[in-house]
C-alpha cells in the first residue's frame, strides 16, 4: 500500500484543493516580496457627519493609510478655531496597517463642522 502515496480519489481531491490554496498563498506572499513598494506611511483624514449628544458634538473621522508601511500609535488631532479659546480634540489608533482604514471619533463642546483634522504623529513599529 505504501508504494502509492495517495490511496484513493477522495485523497487526491483534498490534495488538489490543498495545493491550489497553498500556491495561492505562496504566490501572494511572493508578489508582496517581489514588488516591495517602499512608500512610507502617509495618511488622509476624512471627517464624517457631526452628531450631537449630551451637550457635546461627536465628529467621526476616517483615517486611511495610503503608504506601504504599517504605522503604530497614529494620533489624529482636530482643531476648532472658530471658538475662543480654540478647541482641540485628539485620538490615537494603536495600529493602522498599510493601505487600510480605521475609524475614530473626536468630541467637541461646540459644533465642529468647521474643524480641521490632521494626523500629528505616528510611530514606526
Amino acid at each position: 500500500m505504501s508504494e502509492h502515496p495517495i490511496r484513493n480519489p477522495a485523497e487526491w481531491f483534498s490534495l488538489g484543493i490543498s495545493l491550489t490554496l497553498l500556491s495561492a498563498v505562496v504566490a501572494t506572499v511572493a508578489s508582496l516580496w517581489l514588488n516591495p513598494s517602499l512608500k512610507p506611511a502617509a495618511f488622509t483624514v476624512e471627517p464624517g457627519k457631526v452628531r450631537a449628544a449630551h451637550d457635546h458634538y461627536y465628529l467621526p473621522v476616517t483615517i486611511k493609510n495610503e503608504g506601504d508601511a504599517t504605522a503604530a500609535e497614529v494620533t489624529v488631532e482636530g482643531t476648532l478655531t472658530t471658538t475662543s479659546p480654540e478647541e482641540v480634540a485628539t485620538t490615537t489608533f494603536d495600529f493602522v496597517p498599510a493601505r487600510s482604514d480605521a475609524e475614530g471619533v473626536l468630541i467637541f463642546s461646540q459644533d465642529p463642522s468647521a474643524a480641521t483634522v490632521r494626523v500629528i504623529s505616528y510611530q514606526e513599529p
Binding site: F13, V26, A30, S100
Partner: protein
C-alpha cells in the same frame, strides 16, 4: 480511475475534520492573543515565507508519528502529501477563525491580512500535526470504555459533565483574565455573536462525534443524559458558558452591575475556547 466509494469520502471528511479540530484545540490560546494579530501587521514577506516553511517542516516531523489521517502506516510520499494538506487546513482554519472574531476585514489591507493569517497558521499547523495524538482513539480503547460505562447512566453523565467543565477551565482560564475578551467583544454585532454560538456548537459536535470516528458509534450507544449527540453537545455548551461566566466574574473582567449585553457578549466570546476545551475533555474520559 474508479469512482471514489462513499466510505472513502466519509473517511476523508472525518480526517479533514479531525485536522480542523486539532488546529482549534492547540491554536485557541494563540487566536485569543492580540500580539499574534499585531505582529502580523508588520511581518515582512520573507519572514512570512520562513514561517510557512517552518510550519511545513513541523508538519512533516509531526506527521511521522501523528498527523490527522487515521489510516497508518505511511510512506514518505504520504507524509509529504499529508503535510501539504495539513498546512492548507491550518491556513484555512486561521482564515475562518480570524474572520469569525472580526479580526480580518477587507479594509485591513493585503499585507496585514497575509501576515495575521500566516502568523496564526504556525500554531494551527502544530495542532493539525498532533490531531491524531489527541483526538483519535483506537478500537481497543472503545471496548474497554464501553464495558466500564454501560449500566451507570448517572455516573457516566457526571463524569462527562465533569470532564467538560475541567476541559473548559483548563483552556479558558488562561484566556479569561486577558484584555482580548473585551477587545473582541466590543467590535461584535449581535448577528456575529449568534455566529460564534453556532460555531461553538458545531466545533464541539465535530470534535466529539465526527472527528473521532472510532469512538463515535460507541458514544452514541451509551446511556445517560449526555449520550444523544445533540443533547450532549448542547449540555456541554451550557457547561462551557457557565464556566466562562464564572471565570470572567472571578477575574473581575465582568462585575454584577455591568450591563447585560456586556455579560452576554463576553461570555459567548470566552465560551468558544471553553467549548473546545470541554470537547477535548469529554474525549479524554
Amino acid at each position: 480511475m474508479a469512482r471514489p466509494k462513499a466510505h472513502e469520502w466519509r473517511t476523508e471528511l472525518d480526517d479533514l475534520m479531525r485536522g480542523i479540530a486539532g488546529a482549534f484545540l492547540f491554536g485557541a490560546p494563540f487566536l485569543y492573543t492580540m500580539e499574534v494579530w499585531w505582529k502580523g501587521n508588520f511581518t515582512s514577506p520573507p519572514r512570512m515565507m520562513l514561517i510557512l516553511a517552518m510550519a511545513y517542516l513541523a508538519l512533516v516531523l509531526l506527521n511521522i508519528k501523528g498527523g490527522f489521517r487515521a489510516q497508518q502506516p505511511r510512506g514518505y510520499g504520504q507524509i509529504l502529501a499529508e503535510s501539504v494538506e495539513g498546512l492548507a487546513i491550518a491556513l484555512f482554519t486561521a482564515t475562518l477563525s480570524l474572520t469569525l472574531l472580526d479580526i480580518l476585514h477587507i479594509e485591513t489591507g493585503i499585507d496585514a491580512i497575509m501576515g495575521r493569517l500566516i502568523t496564526l497558521s504556525l500554531p494551527y499547523s502544530i495542532g493539525v500535526g498532533i490531531a491524531n495524538n489527541i483526538l483519535l482513539r483506537t478500537p481497543d480503547d472503545n471496548g474497554a470504555d464501553l464495558d466500564k460505562k454501560r449500566g451507570h447512566p448517572w455516573r457516566s453523565t457526571l463524569s462527562d459533565a465533569g470532564a467538560a467543565l475541567l476541559g473548559a477551565i483548563v483552556v479558558g482560564s488562561s484566556i479569561a483574565p486577558t484584555d482580548e475578551i473585551p477587545m473582541i467583544s466590543s467590535s461584535l454585532e449581535p448577528a456575529r455573536l449568534l455566529l460564534i454560538m453556532a460555531s461553538s456548537l458545531l466545533l464541539s459536535y465535530v470534535i466529539v462525534f465526527e472527528a473521532n470516528f472510532g469512538a463515535q458509534r460507541q458514544r452514541r450507544s451509551q446511556s445517560g443524559l449526555f449520550q444523544g449527540p445533540i443533547s450532549e453537545t448542547v449540555a456541554a455548551y451550557l457547561i462551557a458558558l457557565a464556566a466562562s461566566a464564572l471565570m470572567l466574574w472571578l477575574f473581575q473582567v465582568i462585575r454584577v452591575g455591568d450591563p447585560i449585553n456586556q455579560w452576554v457578549s463576553y461570555i459567548i466570546v470566552l465560551g468558544l475556547p471553553c467549548t473546545i476545551g470541554g470537547a477535548a475533555g469529554r474525549l479524554a474520559v
